[in-house]
């Protein structure tokens, strides 16, 4: 009875907030824009106009994959995980500072309900804003994906728990700061700052990972080139004519250069690996906001569905010119990075993030339960 009353009160509070309805309208605009965009053999179709796009048409990816990608990348990744989340934080940051304000908290604490239960229920109601928004958005997107793209993909509805969990990481920070500072503005700004820091750690780790993969690619190319040189030298050593010997001498010279270079690159790689381990360690204790949202992409879009790497048939060692200049394969690099990130278990992504949230909630609970009002 008490829990229902608190949730009903939270719904009334949301209903009274203009920002809730503004966000809802904007979500509607995003879903409608999905419905207005299509894909065909030539490229994109906007309402009734065809826009030829050579790299984005049904020969590159299926209509189903296009819509799923549009939903995951734009609908979730951009709209819900960024803009709508900022609006949600703006809207919910005041929940705890207002809740514990003098004259308001007295009325609630004087009722036969425990402080811990009161705090956790109020915390859950804070997630109601996002839960309602994302539920309506996902159901509408599910219908658009089915009707327009022929992809009746119930996995789309996984966005509801995922986005709520993602928001809960930030809301736990906001709740703790709101309780500690009693200020809506301070709680909001500090939460946004911490979110930015979390994102910076993620970006740093991703950057180091990319650099590590790039270096690994270079090491592989160098080793391929070395083994190619060694094979050529074996053939040339059997031939005693001058031209062959001059060529062998030249190759030996290059072989030495490449061997020296591979040694240096491997040393660099080891340093990068240490840096990556440090960055990953820092990231492990923080909530994985970006990777939580990326789980949806992992579950909805198989790597095989994505456009294959370009028509680049260069063998690995040919990416290393005779002069020693290395040309990386960006598409392979991107695929390797996606695979590396997808290789991280769901348990690690969600488990460590929820552990972070649990620690913050425990601190907030302690603060709420022990304080005099």
């Amino acid at each position: 009875m008490q829990t229902v009353a608190i949730f009903l009160d939270a719904y009334r509070e949301l209903n009274a907030r203009k920002l809730f309805w503004i966000t809802m309208i904007l979500s509607g605009v995003v879903v409608v824009s999905f419905a207005l965009i299509g894909i065909n053999e030539q490229g994109l179709r906007l309402i009734m106009w065809d826009v030829p796009v050579p790299f984005l048409n049904t020969t590159v990816m299926s209509e189903e994959t296009f819509y799923k990608t549009l939903f995951v990348e734009f609908g979730i990744g951009f709209w819900l995980a960024w803009l709508a989340t900022i609006l949600a934080l703006v809207s919910t940051a005041s929940i705890f500072p207002e809740f514990i304000s003098s004259g308001s908290i007295d009325l609630v604490l004087s009722k036969p309900i425990g402080r811990l239960r009161l705090f956790l229920t109020k915390y859950a109601t804070g997630l109601l804003f996002v839960a309602l928004q994302v539920a309506i958005f996902s159901v509408a997107s599910f219908l658009v994906l089915g009707l327009k793209g022929g992809a009746w993909e119930p996995g789309v509805l996984l966005a509801v728990p995922l986005v709520v969990v993602f928001f809960s990481y930030l809301f736990s920070i906001c709740a703790l700061l709101g309780l500690a500072t009693r200020s809506t503005i301070a709680a909001l700004l500090l939460t946004l700052l911490i979110w930015f820091l979390i994102f910076s750690v993620h970006a740093t780790e991703s950057g180091i990972l990319a650099f590590k993969l790039l270096t690994e690619q270079k090491v592989t190319a160098l080793e391929s080139r070395i083994s190619s040189y060694e094979g050529t030298l074996q053939g040339l050593d059997k031939d005693a004519n001058d031209q062959s010997q001059r060529r062998a001498a030249s190759i030996r010279h290059r072989l030495e250069d490449r061997r020296s270079e591979v040694t240096n690159t491997k040393a660099t790689l080891r340093k990068i690996e240490i840096a990556h381990r440090v960055a990953l360690g820092v990231k492990t204790i923080l909530p994985k906001t970006t990777e939580t949202i990326a789980l949806l992409e992992r579950w909805l879009i198989d790597l095989a569905e994505l456009p294959a790497p370009g028509n680049n048939n260069d063998s690995t060692f040919e990416r290393l010119a005779e002069s020693g200049a290395f040309t990386p394969d960006p598409e392979q690099l991107q695929l390797d990075a996606v695979e590396a990130i997808r290789g991280r278990s769901v348990g690690w992504v969600l488990g460590t993030s929820l552990a972070f949230e649990a620690v913050l909630l425990a601190l907030a609970c302690g603060l709420f339960c022990r304080r005099d009002y």
Binding site: A5, L8, R12, S102, S110
Partner: protein, 331 residues
């Protein structure tokens, strides 16, 4: 020693509260409130009145306490189902209507759906807010908020109601109506604990009062008991006071500005007055008036908050440990 007397709805012993910064808000409060009475808690600003009420309502955690509320230890949450509370400067969520606010707080007090709807409607009528029941509380005046606040405190049909400044911001008509509600509640057996600065109002309705000064109860009892020492008869006569009166140590004489004199005799019984009246009449003195007089609550309050050594009014605010006051006087 803590008692478990069933007659006490509130039975507090050794209540202490030291806030952070070592502000000693309460220093061993002892207080008993009987079943079915209206009990008034008085005290200057910063005396610790609101802290004491908040401790009973679990809003503030005591440093030390021994005692019961409705027979259960203070802090026992389920007991609060039978307690109503109106905090000072309470704030309802602005997005709720008066009716929704009452129903929300009733639900938190575990009142079932049907009962809370009925009680909310009844109480809104009782406090004269039925016409405003479905308007947002953000449109209410201070007085209206107090009325709905009182209704909120009663929505769970409590056995004990704690009201912190219930008539603050209410007009005289509203104050009278609130008083009538309190008297009616007492008639039905509800115990009421009033925390107010309006001494005249408390005097009108309270059966017993306690005066809290700097975290200690310095006086506690019925207003009659507390003012017993001050009870006296005042006889106003034309002209100067007779010589025999001026020589009688039991009679104090005051000369009034309009040529009249006042004979003041300590005591609350009319019997000892009769010989004095007979003697005055025998001397053909004109008796203008005779009235029994006692201290007002305000006089009592001022006596309580005045330092007997210096005669100065004690400064408001709770003292730190270093400035502890001596033990209080209880009636």
């Amino acid at each position: 020693m803590a008692t478990t007397n069933g007659e006490y709805v509130i039975d507090l012993h050794h209540v202490e509260k030291v806030y952070r910064g070592k502000v000693h808000a309460l220093r061993g409060v002892e207080m008993q409130v009987h079943r079915g009475e209206i009990f008034g808690l008085l005290g200057p600003n910063g005396a610790g009145k609101s802290t004491l009420v908040k401790i009973m309502m679990t809003v503030v955690r005591p440093t030390r306490i021994s005692g019961t509320l409705l027979g259960r230890p203070v802090g026992h949450k389920p007991t609060l189902r039978r307690v109503g509370y109106l905090p000072e400067d309470h704030r309802f969520p602005r997005y709720l209507t008066g009716r929704q606010a009452l129903e929300f707080y009733a639900a938190l007090a575990k009142v079932d759906r049907r009962t809370r709807k009925r009680r909310a409607a009844e109480l809104l009528t009782t406090v004269g807010m039925s016409d405003w029941a479905d308007k947002k509380v953000s449109t209410y005046s201070k007085g209206m908020m107090q009325r709905v606040g009182l209704a909120q405190a009663l929505v769970n049909d409590p056995q004990l109601v704690l009201l912190d400044e219930p008539t603050d911001g209410v007009d005289p008509v509203g104050r009278r109506e609130i008083r009538d509600v309190l008297v009616e509640l007492r008639r039905r057996g509800t115990t009421i604990f009033l925390n107010s600065h309006l001494l005249s109002e408390l005097e009108m309705v309270c059966d017993r009062v306690a005066i809290l000064v700097q975290g200690k109860v310095v006086m506690q009892g019925t207003i009659d008991d507390l003012t017993a020492q001050s009870r006296r008869y005042e006889i106003t006569i034309q002209g100067a006071a007779p010589d025999w009166a001026q020589g009688d140590p039991s009679i104090r004489v005051e000369v009034l500005s309009d040529g009249q004199s006042k004979l003041i005799v300590q005591g609350s019984e009319p019997g000892p007055m009769q010989p004095i009246l007979d003697r005055l009449r025998g001397e053909r003195r004109i008796i203008c008036a005779m009235e029994p007089v006692r201290e007002t609550l305000e006089d009592l309050f001022m006596r309580a908050v005045t330092d007997p050594e210096t005669g100065q009014v004690l400064q408001p605010g709770a003292r730190t440990n270093a400035g502890a006051r001596g033990p209080g006087k209880e009636a």
